[in-house]
């Protein structure tokens, strides 16, 4: 429909498309190709060996474990926060929205350091934790805390605008029709936001598994104990085991590709559901 008014000359279109594709190729596809080439340089057997090595397996397990704890928690928090922000008026709402964004605003190193300051040996709660033999920093709980902090915004950020746009009228309609609070949430709110939830979870998961900075600060880099996949890559690389480092890195790259594919599927799903309906809902033709 906009074609007639936006009909640029062919050479401009060609230039723009070439520039965009060239940029993408240079910064996305070339590194990806290089990564895979490097990973397979010593052959498939070496590639698989790098992944089957005990430290690598432990890093995979730890990455899955931390994500399995952090993502559900942030899912709950994200839905609760978005629900509160979008459907209710309360004092301090703006502060809550700002706080949700905080992890995006600070450097991941700071996100790790705060936990060291709180729970490290020289930190506020450090002596008490040490006295009770609880290890947080340089142990799994610290990693989980750091990852939760870094990934707090993903689900909430995704849902707040969505829920604000949808307003509270459908919930009010459900309440007047006799639904309880839980019924309203399960039957009205959740179905309306499910694609947004899924999208937020996918992004949250990608970040939880791929986070390096914050994790690096609290991990202590104990091989086979507190190294997640990104840290394991760094260790291997620093030890000049390039093929192994790239092999493990290819796992993370695969994760990124899976994330993008899932995200695309979610978007298709969301569009098919409301497809065309959005526009028709606004145009009030009888």
């Amino acid at each position: 429909m906009a074609r007639s008014t936006l009909n640029e000359p062919a050479f401009i279109r060609l230039t723009l498309i070439t520039a965009a594709l060239g940029f993408l190729g240079l910064f996305l596809f070339v590194p990806l190709a290089a990564l895979l080439t490097e990973a397979l340089r010593k052959g498939l057997a070496a590639y698989l060996a790098a992944l089957e090595e005990p430290d690598a397996l432990s890093a995979i397990r730890l990455t899955l474990l931390t994500a399995a704890i952090a993502v559900p928690l942030n899912l709950l928090f994200g839905i609760a926060a978005a629900w509160a922000v979008a459907k209710f008026e309360f004092a301090g709402k703006q502060i809550l929205i700002t706080l949700i964004d905080l992890p995006f605003a600070v450097s991941p190193v700071i996100s790790g350091l705060i936990w060291v300051l709180l729970f490290g040996l020289q930190g506020w709660a450090g002596p008490w934790l040490a006295a009770h033999n609880i290890k947080v920093i340089f142990a799994v709980p610290g990693l989980v805390l750091a990852i939760i902090f870094v990934t707090v915004p993903f689900v909430a950020r995704e849902l707040i605008p969505l829920m604000q746009e949808q307003g509270a009228e459908e919930e009010e309609a459900a309440l007047v029709l006799g639904a309880s609070g839980l019924q309203t949430f399960l039957r009205v709110t959740l179905p309306n936001i499910k694609w947004g939830v899924l999208y937020g979870v996918v992004l949250c998961n990608a970040r939880a598994m791929g986070e390096f900075g914050a994790v690096s600060v609290v991990s202590g880099h104990i091989r086979g104990m507190t190294t997640t996949l990104p840290l394991h890559v760094e260790i291997l690389y620093n030890e000049y085991q390039f093929a192994a480092a790239f092999a493990v890195a290819s796992l993370l790259a695969l994760l990124a590709l899976v994330t993008l594919a899932t995200k695309q599927c979610v978007e298709w799903g969301a569009m098919r559901r409301t497809g065309g309906g959005r526009a028709a809902e606004r145009g009030e033709s009888p």
Partner: protein, 360 residues
């Protein structure tokens, strides 16, 4: 079910949405809350529904205090201005929603729910759209689904917030007549909010005129139109002409003419405002007694009537008069022609008094 609103006050921050509102809605009536935007009519409706809580005052349903009762326990049907249909559910599932959330031991059986939904779909003439989603429906169809959904739980009160506000003129007209017929069939006590005076006057048994968080007048369509309680109601319900004058000893002087106003016989030398509807102005070439001379400025045919914009020769400004097509053909006024007008019905409001007794 009768609804009694007693001394209800509601504020949002510094904005006073409702001030000491008292209203009784008798069983089985269809009542319109009519007022300009910001007059508090929607707030009052939402308080009756339990979607807002009043800061002061009470709501009684059938004599029982329902002020603190939750919305879900009030057994009201609410139709939202923008329908608020569940967008992820089909028309059928939307209508069934209220029945499916009833606790299991009280819930009707599946076949009973199915039968109920089908009969409601027939009632709103949408059985052929049962498996469609709200986004696939037109505005008028959505509104009917919203009505059916609200009726499914057999509410004791129907509350409708600007039910036809988002529809175009023709669909509005059809739907509001259909709503009136529906009300005559079901006889559920109903309250609807509107800012359209024509809609209120045509559909409602009783019109509640609201302004700035207060009720200005309650009455039948005829009462509020023929005997407005105050200048606001007069101005809000239809077009008016304003005449400034002085009341003295049972007579009012407007420009060059004097008219009798027996109900103000005890009042001496007080400024007053007189209101005349455009169709209560008689236009002629020869001067009747107590006539005001005017010059025709503009002639605008508007559907069934012809609107004349006249300029008073005594310097009192512009006047709008309405002639029927027949009268217009008979008189054939010309632009710039000098004519005379007579006020068939004038309502006087003394300045600094909100209330005056109704004119005879």
């Amino acid at each position: 079910m009768t609804i009694a609103v007693n001394a209800v006050t509601k504020r949002f921050g510094h904005f006073l949405a409702l001030t000491d509102v008292n209203l009784t809605i008798p069983e089985g009536e269809l009542v319109a809350l009519l007022g300009p935007s910001g007059s508090g009519k929607t707030t009052l409706l939402r308080i009756i529904a339990g979607l807002e809580t009043p800061d002061a005052g009470t709501i009684h349903f059938h004599g029982h205090d329902a002020t603190t009762r939750a919305a879900r326990d009030r057994q009201v049907g609410f139709v939202f201005q923008h329908y608020a249909l569940f967008r992820h559910l089909t028309v059928y599932d939307n209508i069934a929603f209220g029945l499916r959330v009833i606790p299991r031991r009280l819930r009707p059986s599946r076949p009973a729910i199915d039968q109920k939904v089908r009969s409601l779909l027939q009632l709103v003439q949408l059985d052929w759209l049962a498996s469609h989603y709200p986004s696939q429906l037109s505005g008028g169809q959505r509104q009917r689904v919203a009505l059916a959904r609200a009726l499914a739980v057999e509410p004791r009160v129907m509350l409708l917030d600007e039910p036809f506000g988002a529809l175009d003129a023709k669909v509005r007209l059809e739907l509001r007549r259909w709503l009136r017929r529906l009300h005559d069939e079901l006889h559920v006590t109903s309250v609807f909010v509107t800012h359209d005076q024509e809609e209120a006057l045509e559909v409602a048994d009783r019109v509640v005129v609201m302004n700035e968080g207060r009720i200005e007048q309650v009455g039948t369509a005829e009462e509020v139109y023929e005997q407005p309680a105050n200048p606001f109601v007069y101005r809000f319900l239809g077009n008016v002409n304003l005449f400034h004058g002085r009341v003295h000893g049972g007579r009012v002087q407007i420009g060059s003419i004097h008219l009798d106003t027996p109900e103000h016989s005890g009042i001496q030398d007080t400024p007053a405002e007189g209101y005349v509807r455009p169709h209560d102005i008689e236009v002629d070439r020869t001067a009747p007694p107590a006539a005001i001379g005017v010059t025709v400025e503009e002639i605008r045919p508007v559907g069934p009537v012809v609107r004349l914009i006249l300029i008073r020769q005594d310097g009192g400004g512009r006047i709008e008069a309405e002639l029927s097509r027949d009268r217009h053909r008979e008189l054939r006024p010309q632009k710039g022609e000098r004519l005379f007008i007579r006020l068939k019905q004038l309502r006087l409001f003394l300045k600094d008094h909100r209330q005056t007794p109704p004119a005879p």
